[in-house]
Every structure is written in structure tokens, then in C-alpha cells.
């Protein structure tokens, strides 16, 4: 079904480690450890996983924002943009400049990190977008104002400083920055995590609408499975630096084939819960010294001897669904989430 020219991103065997030297001792944190995945044009791919599993590190590489101590140790990250193919792990800074914002854009975790606190929003737009858009003066401003209006932001925000805006407005501004050049590929790291539920829903539907209008591909990172349920076409689950399962959103929620996915889906607290949902024993591994075999085995209810020794490969377990689990055939959804016990109107 998938055609060669339909593919926008191809990640192969990607390993990216933090290599540090603390007081003479070398340390290596294997934050991204052998990830292979592909993305099609026009799709929203959700990346989930608990805190410190390597989500941000992975997408920093995708976004070509690789800075020491993070280093790409192995693998390739190839984009197939309209202006030609590029492998961001080997491209020169000049080559990366030719795709930044116009083809590849990045909404970073925490809106304040991209908005300069002492610069008016309008200046930040100039810094980011003037060159890639190739517009100046009135033409540039018209383009920006029109785009802001699309995000329900008044032209006045261009005169504001970041701290004068509410959290929701700031987040819409950062989405505006990331989308004003109509990029082909947008990477968003926890773009709604700091927002309240009402504003979150509004911002999510904006992202989704803009994505559809522009026909862009989006990598959407969040630890919040309920966001993935409503935004992503496909979901990939990262555990301890590795992709452990991926597939169409509905399948991932209703027929997970990795015990960790099943756990993530079942552990989501819901209004009406008066008891704790089943929790996993133990804690995620230290990425400076990850366990042998399957990295999930110390916490896995299905683990057998083989899991402790051999790394399970990612294999296709259902149409479009891949899992890295020796026992995927025995994985059952932990709760019937279609009919929750405490459901209320």
C-alpha cells in the first residue's frame, strides 16, 4: 500500500547517546538505542513513553538539534523533502539551514524556551521566519497576521512580550512560529502538557486542523496516552531508549501486543476511580546501565528466561502493527476500556 514516494522520514538503527565526563569518570547514557521507524506524508505519529524514556532525545535527533553531550553513535535519519533528500545525522549545518522552518520545524518542550523573554513576539517571528519565507516589510507582516488569525490570535500579540500572554496564548504563538512557513514536517514535544484541559483540547484541535490544511506530517510527543488517543494516526511506544511497539492508534489501545503498551493504556487514571489502577512493579532502568535482553523484562509480568537473555526484534504482529516482544501472542488488554467500571455520563 505504501509507495516509496509516500515516505517522508526513514529512521534506521538510530543510536544516540549522552557521552559525559564527570570529574574524570566517563559516563554514557544510552537515551536512543537502536530505533528503526518510517513515517508517511500527511500522518500524525504519536510517541509515548514514561518520563526519561528517551522521547525528547529521540526527537532532538529528528529535529537536527543534536548538541553535545548528545551524539549520534550509529544509524541514519533520512527525510525526503520537496527540495531533495537529506540525512540530518550527516548533513552540514549549512545544509540543515536550507530545510529548517521551511521544511522541518520543531515545537520545543516548554513554550518559554523558544520565546525570548526580552524580545517582542513580532521580533521573534522576524528572526524565525523572515529569511525562510523570503518576504519583508508589509508583505511579511500581512502573512504573519493572517496566520495568527488562523490560530485565533489578534495581531496585537506581535507587540507583546511573552510574559504578557497567558499560557494558552503563548502555546498558540509557538505553534504559529512552527507553522508560519508551512513546513512539510513538524515535530512537537509535549506541546500541551502545561495547559489546562479546556485549553489543551482547543490547542490540540488547532494543531490537527492546521496539519490537515497544510498536508504536513507531525511527530507528536507526549507521555499522556489520552492525547494520543485523540490526535495520532499511529502511535509508537518508547521504553528505555527503544521503540517497543507501534501501530494504528485504535489497535494500540484495543489490541496491544506488547505488555508495556497494555500497561500504559490500563494505567490511565479516570474520573470516577476510587482505587488505584494496577501499577507496574519496579522502575524504569538506568540508561547508563540498561538490563540485558529485553529491557522491560525486570518489570514484565510475562517474562521468561529467553527475555532475560535475548533482545526481541521488532516484528509485524498484525497489519501495520509491530512489536518487540518474545511473548506478543500472549499479551491481553488489561482492562476492557470500552466499558470502564466507573464510567459516568
Amino acid at each position: 500500500m505504501t509507495q516509496e514516494n509516500d515516505i517522508i522520514l526513514q529512521v534506521e538503527g538510530l543510536k544516540a547517546y549522552y557521552q559525559m565526563n564527570y570529574f574524570g569518570v566517563n559516563r554514557e547514557v544510552r537515551a536512543v538505542d537502536d530505533i528503526t521507524m518510517t513515517m508517511r506524508k500527511n500522518e500524525v505519529y504519536g510517541i509515548a513513553g514514561e518520563s526519561s524514556s528517551g522521547k525528547t532525545s529521540f526527537i532532538k535527533v529528528l529535529a537536527a538539534a543534536i548538541r553535545p553531550p548528545l551524539r549520534v553513535v550509529e544509524g541514519t535519519v533520512k527525510y525526503n523533502f520537496k527540495n531533495g533528500p537529506i540525512d540530518v545525522t550527516t548533513a552540514s549545518p549549512e545544509q540543515i539551514e536550507t530545510v529548517r522552518w521551511k521544511h522541518l520545524s520543531y515545537i520545543m518542550q516548554g513554550s518559554m524556551s523558544v520565546l525570548n523573554p526580552v524580545r517582542r513576539i513580532g521580533r521573534t517571528f522576524q528572526d524565525f521566519a523572515q529569511r525562510p519565507l523570503g518576504l519583508t516589510g508589509k508583505a511579511f507582516e500581512d502573512r504573519v497576521v493572517k496566520h495568527l488569525a488562523r490560530l485565533n490570535l489578534p495581531a496585537d500579540v506581535l507587540k507583546a512580550y511573552p510574559h504578557e500572554l497567558s499560557g494558552g496564548m503563548r502555546q498558540r504563538v509557538t505553534i504559529g512560529l512552527a507553522t508560519v512557513c508551512h513546513p512539510e514536517f513538524i515535530i512537537a514535544d509535549e506541546p500541551t502538557t502545561a495547559l489546562d484541559v479546556v485549553v489543551q483540547k482547543e490547542v490540540l484541535s488547532l494543531i490537527r486542523d492546521i496539519q490537515k490544511e497544510m498536508g504536513a506530517s507531525v511527530v507528536f510527543v507526549t507521555h499522556d496516552m489520552s492525547v494520543h488517543a485523540n490526535v495520532a494516526d499511529r502511535v509508537g511506544i518508547i521504553y528505555a531508549g527503544r521503540l517497543v511497539e507501534e501501530g494504528p492508534t485504535r489497535q494500540m489501545f484495543f489490541t496491544p501486543k506488547h505488555p508495556y503498551t497494555a500497561h500504559l493504556v490500563a494505567s490511565l487514571p479516570r474520573i470516577g476511580d476510587t482505587q488505584q489502577r494496577p501499577a507496574l512493579e519496579g522502575r524504569p532502568p538506568n540508561l547508563a546501565d540498561p538490563p540485558q535482553g529485553c529491557r522491560f523484562h525486570p518489570r514484565c509480568p510475562l517474562a521468561v528466561d529467553k527475555c532475560r537473555k535475548e533482545v526481541p526484534p521488532m516484528i509485524e504482529v498484525a497489519p501495520g502493527q509491530r512489536s518487540a516482544c518474545w511473548r506478543w501472542e500472549d499479551v491481553k488488554p488489561l482492562v476492557n476500556i470500552a466499558a470502564p467500571a466507573g464510567a459516568m455520563a
Binding site: S52, T193, D196, V199, S205, A229, D273, I337
Partner: protein, 304 residues
């Protein structure tokens, strides 16, 4: 019954120049509630961003003066301008918990340094053994120990452990009241549960009262005794947490509940919000109305 905390008709107005020509912001308007000393509870404040939750918390912590109204802690006025000794005594009773465990700690600083400086300040001693004991005691309360933490940097601990350390730090002076401002907003579901379970056990086992600020309705339902829902500086609904969350009455409370994303239709891409619900909720913005009691014990703001 004695009162631990009494918030009486408190308002906070900030004055500043704004882009829309707005010169003042009423961050909190006429908020009143009280906590009793005998019945430690988890008292939850929920509401949109900018609704005044943090401002209210900062006033209770004595970091911000109310423009109007009084805040009494054990019958005494919370005073930002009190002398150093008095201020230290107050702070040993009311402690904040940092928001984001990954940002609260400097990556280049060993975790125990934070606990150590807090212990030194409140114990007013430089006796190493006494400080170590205070650190270990409070780490034990959150399921850790000084032995596990000693010498470790933030990146060597999990997010859950870091958040536990942040709570342990707040517990050093044995405060009867903790104020946790969005302690779980940035963390995943399993971590979220382990933190709220910890808050629950502080209440049940150590009799600590907790003001829990969040926008996560599920954990609010799970651990709270009482809840207040705030919209643009005003309390719009207040009462027993389960009564209110099961069947919210104020239009904003209903919008809040309806906006919680569900996984029942995973993959269907449902993100719409009922526009009449939005209109009804927005309709109450800027109107004073009046908080009235209902037969089930809750208070709801109604408009003439």
C-alpha cells in the same frame, strides 16, 4: 474544633501595563475557605490556567500580600513582612512542593545538598549527625533513605524518586500543611499515581493537610476530600470532591469535565467541544454572581 488555615474574603489585584491596555488584573476575587486542625484533608484547587490558583497559594505561603481580606494560620495573620525568626517559624509550618521534578533540581548539584540546606536552616544547627538524621527521617517518610540518595545527581534518579526527594525536602520541618502546586502536571500516569498516593499517605499516616493544585480531574477525584473550582479569579463551585466531580453544576465545571480527553474512541480523532457549553461557561466570566449553598452541601456561584 480549631482552625489550621482560614482564608477570609481574600482578593488580589495586580497592577501593570498590558498589551490590551488593561492596567489591573484581579487574579483572585473574594476567596474564602478554611481547613481544620483535627481533620487533615486533601483540599484541591482546580481551574483553567490564569484562574488564580498559584496566586492564592503564594498568598497562603506569605509570598504575596492580599489586596483585601485576611489569611490566618492557627489564628495568626500570615505576614510577609514579619521578622526573620517569625517568618522561619511560619515556614516550618507551611511548606511548598516544587512543581516539576526535572526542573526543580540543578543537574550539577547533588540532591542531598537541597535537603541539607533546608535542614540546616530549620534545625538551626551545623551538627552533621543531627542534619543527617533529619534528612534520613524525612526521606524515610517518602519511601527513600539517605543511603540511597547520598552522593547522587538528579540524572542518576528516576522522575518518581526526584519528586519524592522534593516532597522529602518539604517535610523536613514537620509541617502540618503542604502546598503542592501542580506536582503532577508534567509527569506520566504511573508517576502521577505514585505521587498522589504519597500525598494520600501523608494525610492518612502523618496527619499532614495538603492543598493540592492541579488540572488533572482524575487524580483530584481519587484523593481529594474537598475541592474548589476556580474560573478567572473566582471560586465558582466548592464542596465534597466526589459530589462536585460526579455531577458538576456550574457551567465552567461542566465544561472542565467535558474537556477531559477520553480513550474510549481511541483513533477516531474526536476533539470537538460543544459550542453551547463553551458559550455558557464564558458567559459567567466577569460576573460576580453569588455563591449559594445547595442541599447536598456544595456551594455554587449563581447569577441573577
Amino acid at each position: 474544633m480549631t482552625t489550621l488555615l482560614d482564608v477570609q474574603n481574600v482578593s488580589k489585584r495586580f497592577t501593570m501595563g498590558g498589551i490590551f491596555g488593561r492596567k489591573t488584573i484581579d487574579a483572585v476575587m473574594d476567596a474564602s475557605f478554611s481547613l481544620s486542625s483535627e481533620n487533615p484533608e486533601i483540599f484541591t484547587i482546580i481551574g483553567e490556567s490564569g484562574s488564580g490558583k498559584t496566586t492564592l497559594a503564594r498568598m497562603i505561603l506569605g509570598l504575596e500580600d492580599p489586596t483585601e481580606g485576611d489569611i490566618l494560620f492557627r489564628g495568626e495573620q500570615v505576614d510577609r513582612h514579619a521578622g526573620r525568626a517569625e517568618r522561619l517559624k511560619f515556614m516550618s509550618h507551611v511548606q511548598p512542593v516544587f512543581q516539576n521534578p526535572f526542573e526543580a533540581f540543578n543537574p550539577l548539584k547533588q540532591i542531598e545538598r537541597y535537603l541539607e540546606s533546608t535542614a540546616r536552616r530549620f534545625l538551626d544547627t551545623s551538627d552533621k549527625a543531627a542534619i543527617d538524621k533529619a534528612m534520613d527521617d524525612s526521606l524515610q517518610k517518602v519511601g527513600l533513605s539517605l543511603k540511597e540518595v547520598r552522593g547522587r545527581f538528579p540524572h542518576e534518579m528516576s522522575g518518581g524518586q526526584l519528586q519524592r526527594c522534593a516532597i522529602a525536602r518539604a517535610l523536613i520541618p514537620n509541617p502540618p500543611l503542604l502546598i503542592a502546586d501542580e506536582p503532577v502536571s508534567m509527569v506520566d500516569a504511573s508517576l502521577r499515581m505514585s505521587i498522589v498516593n504519597l500525598l494520600k499517605s501523608l494525610r492518612d499516616d502523618l496527619k499532614v493537610s495538603v492543598i493540592y493544585i492541579t488540572h488533572d480531574l482524575a487524580t483530584a477525584y481519587y484523593i481529594s476530600n474537598r475541592i474548589i473550582i476556580m474560573q478567572r479569579g473566582r471560586i465558582v463551585e466548592m464542596g465534597d470532591a466526589r459530589t462536585v466531580l460526579e455531577n458538576p453544576e456550574h457551567a465552567y465545571s461542566r465544561l472542565l469535565k467535558a474537556s477531559v480527553l477520553s480513550t474510549d474512541d481511541a483513533g477516531a480523532g474526536k476533539l470537538g467541544t460543544d459550542p453551547t457549553m463553551l458559550d455558557q461557561a464564558n458567559n459567567s466570566v466577569g460576573r460576580a454572581g453569588e455563591l449559594v449553598a445547595r442541599p447536598d452541601g456544595r456551594h455554587v456561584r449563581v447569577y441573577a
